[in-house]
């Protein structure tokens, strides 16, 4: 232990932290007029997160910029930048913090306009749950479908449908039910685990914190109570341990530790690991933290791992459970959100960051663009600002990755313009393409694997002729399944 790290002398006995329950990270999305900022302002106000001096400032600003006449405009609590106050819209992602007695919350408040899709995607990337605002008078709009798509694409599995302005539809249960049914049907292809429709009136606070007396027919929990109790945890043992290495710590010749944050699974002392992409193996010697060594560390923990033998590991590599490791791939199929003004065309090259690895990537092809309002595919020549499409990316070296649906760390990447250094795209890995199609020798290897599978089918059917014919048909029909199997194997 270095002398620099003697514990800092305490000046007080420890106090148990009150606020130590798992945090909930929430995304709110809605359009300009849905009352999203009003809802959030209301949530903060009713949960006593707005202080007296902030209320005084709010009342001043309400008179200057507000849209509620002499009343408080709760939206102004949230619109932080001058341009936003003047235009009455939310341009950027703003993060809000509040806690109730049961839980603490981080809310990403993002703009609803189509031109700010990238901001919403940014907010969604770290959220556990989304609140999708709907104006009860207008019901499910194309923009609602767009919000739902982005939320699902970024891996959020739980949605609250906040059906707002119920006062303007006479608190009608039928209206609420119709909107809830319509949304649930529309969102079916998106694969949410839960969709909870709550009728609210944000301006007056109905069903925000307190149960609404004007909607006695609603028996569900008010919004805050639901947020306090919802369980958004993912199955922990989904897959094995993986940790992108951030930094190699070598304070002296004795110590060599790999610092990083566990991306998935659990790591234990003595566990056999593999370093990727080079494939060298070693066992965990120690899991070091400033609070003492640990026997194990789970996803989300920042640790420093030492190994029982010297192998070649550097920043950008991944340490993973030897028996359940991700694979390295020089080419992937990814869903890409394009964030720059000039359109993306095939052939463009970028710097990418995936985990802690940096590489160069080329957009080999744009397979299709997705109309995020109708969820229909079309074949585009380019992707415009805020468009989402499926692209094939080729890297200049193999990157250790997993599909985003399985792994929100190793399946996510940003694309950076090599000249301007702007972040121009965010992408989620959908499938690994390995070997890439233009490398014939590996392609041949794939046919051999395909042949084994197909041979098994053909053998069952006892027909050599059928075998030959099946190769062509199977190539077409079984491709997705085979790809999946191959990813698991290679």
């Amino acid at each position: 232990m270095s002398a620099a790290l003697k514990p800092i002398p305490p000046n007080n006995p420890p106090v148990p932290a009150v606020n130590d329950a798992p945090q909930l990270r929430v995304l709110t999305c809605g359009s300009v007029d849905d009352g999203k900022s009003t809802l959030l302002g209301r949530l903060l106000y009713d949960s006593q997160a707005v202080m007296d001096d902030q209320l005084v400032a709010l009342d001043q600003e309400s008179r200057r910029w507000g849209t509620q006449g002499e009343n408080r405009d709760f939206a102004l609590l949230l619109d932080g930048l001058g341009a936003e106050r003047e235009q009455g819209i939310t341009i950027d992602v703003a993060y809000r913090y509040f806690s109730s007695k049961r839980r603490s919350f981080i809310v990403a408040d993002t703009p609803g306009h189509e031109q700010y899709t990238r901001n919403m995607a940014t907010g969604a990337s770290t959220a556990d749950l989304a609140i999708i605002l709907i104006d009860a008078r207008r019901g499910v709009l194309p923009q609602t479908r767009r919000h739902a798509f982005i939320v699902a694409a970024l891996g959020i599995r739980h949605a609250v449908l906040a059906i707002n302005k119920m006062d303007l539809v006479d608190f009608s249960q039928a209206t609420w039910q119709r909107i809830a049914d319509e949304f649930t049907a529309a969102a079916r292809p998106l694969g949410f685990q839960s969709i909870v429709p709550i009728p609210i009136c944000a301006r007056d606070g109905d069903n925000v914190v307190a149960r609404s007396v004007r909607m006695p027919w609603f028996h569900g929990a008010p919004l805050l109570e639901y947020l306090e109790t919802v369980d958004v945890s993912r199955p922990e043992t989904e897959h094995g341990f993986a940790m992108p290495v951030q930094l190699v710590l070598r304070p002296d010749s004795e110590f060599r530790g790999y610092a990083g944050t566990v991306a998935s699974g659990v790591v234990r002392v003595g566990q056999p690991l593999v370093a990727l992409p080079n494939g060298q193996r070693a066992d965990v010697a120690r899991i070091v933290t400033a609070d003492g060594d640990r026997a194990a560390a789970e996803a989300g923990r920042a640790v420093t791992i030492t190994l029982d033998r010297e192998i070649d590991v550097a920043r950008g590599d991944v340490l993973a459970a030897a028996d359940d490791a991700p694979t390295a791939s020089a080419s992937v199929e990814a869903e890409l959100i394009w964030m720059a003004t000039e359109p993306l065309v095939a052939g463009r090259e970028f710097a990418v960051r995936l985990g802690t690895a940096s590489a160069h990537a080329r957009v080999v092809s744009i397979r299709h663009a997705i109309d995020i309002q109708t969820y229909a595919y079309r074949k585009p020549a380019s992707l415009k600002l805020n468009e989402i499409g499926l692209v094939e990316l080729a890297f200049d070296k193999p990157l250790v990755t997993r599909p985003y649906a399985m792994d929100r760390t190793l399946g996510a990447m940003i694309l950076v313009d090599r000249l301007t250094h702007q972040t121009v795209g965010m992408a989620t890995v959908q499938a690994l393409i390995d070997p890439p199609k233009w490398r014939p020798s590996r392609r041949l290897a794939r046919y051999v694997v395909d042949g084994v599978v197909i041979g098994a089918i053909a053998g069952a059917l006892s027909s050599n002729l059928l075998f030959a014919a099946l190769i062509g048909v199977a190539e077409m029909l079984l491709r997705p399944l085979l790809d999946h199997l191959l990813e698991a194997k290679l």
Partner: protein, 299 residues
């Protein structure tokens, strides 16, 4: 079990420290002596354990900090493996800039904003950690964790890089630098809970004690030395006070309090009805004043 709220915040801050050290050439930690700086330093040491801190601390000294802050700072600097740089804007000092006759706005601009730019240029730092939190002030709520500054140290809120996941775009052109905020997602409550949990030492001014104060412009100002001349009718009186945030003493209002332990501070904070920075004169130079200062390069 998912990580607890504090464990998750801690791990994310450590990740940020490590990203900067892995990708920048010459980082520095802006050390402002307050509770957030104490937490920041504690997290930084954890991030690189068992290696020593791989960057220096830098304090921008306006010469108007509380004496207890300077004593605390110097004690921290004496801890082994800690390197502290202190920078004061000598031009401002010679020009006699001070918070009383120059006003808070000019004082802050010259002795903090300009001083910080001088120091960053002098030592050619390409990344500076700061303890700012998004819950402190509205325009900070939209600040990135990695906030790019031009060679002139300006912040362009209209042209901020999207920051999805924890994938930080660490690329910059020569002359550009990052302000990095590892405590972005922490709240005042998280900071105190963490100080209590980790037993982190903080400046004694956060704890209530009888101290000499005068009531001026609606704030309780502690008369920390004789440079503060009394106005007609003002008499210092001794009250039991403490501070929620610490800055230049003439610009920092105290709150009356009997809270002398962390448990009492935390209990008091949970019932507090005014925001943390309401006692900081620098925030009240007009609506949007913090945003304007940030555009100009304030931390």
């Amino acid at each position: 079990m998912p990580l607890s709220s504090l464990d998750r915040l801690e791990a994310e801050s450590i990740f940020i420290f490590r990203e900067v050290v892995a990708s920048c050439d010459n980082p520095v930690m802006l050390y402002s002596i307050g509770k957030d700086s104490s937490v920041l330093l504690h997290l930084a040491r954890k991030a690189f354990y068992p290696a020593p801190l791989p960057f220096p601390l830098m304090h921008i000294d306006t010469t108007w900090k509380f004496r207890a802050m300077i004593e605390f700072r110097d004690a921290v600097a004496r801890q082994p493996g800690t390197r502290l740089i202190v920078h004061t804007n000598q031009d401002g000092l010679r020009a006699g800039i001070n918070p009383f006759t120059s006003g808070s706005r000019l004082h802050t601009d010259v002795m903090k904003t300009q001083a910080l730019k001088q120091a960053l240029d002098k030592y050619r730092f390409d990344a500076a950690f700061g303890g700012a939190r998004r819950d402190e002030e509205k325009s900070r709520a939209k600040e990135r964790i990695f906030s790019l500054r031009s060679a002139e140290h300006r912040w362009d809120p209209r042209n901020q890089r999207p920051e999805p996941w924890q994938l930080f775009n660490t690329q910059k052109a020569p002359g550009e630098s990052f302000r990095v905020f590892p405590l972005s997602n922490w709240t005042e409550g998280d900071v105190w809970d963490y100080i209590a949990r980790e037993q982190i030492d903080v400046v004694p001014l956060y704890f209530a004690a009888p101290r000499p104060v005068v009531r001026r412009d609606g704030m309780l100002i502690m008369r920390d030395d004789a440079r503060m001349s009394l106005r007609p009718g003002e008499t210092p009186e001794t009250r039991s006070i403490r501070f929620r945030s610490l800055g230049c003493y003439p610009l920092t209002g105290a709150v009356e309090s009997e809270a002398t332990t962390l448990a009492e501070i935390i209990a008091e904070m949970r019932h507090m009805r005014v925001s943390e920075r309401s006692d900081r004169a620098v925030d009240h130079d007009g609506v949007g004043s913090m945003e304007q200062k940030k555009l100009e390069g304030y931390f």
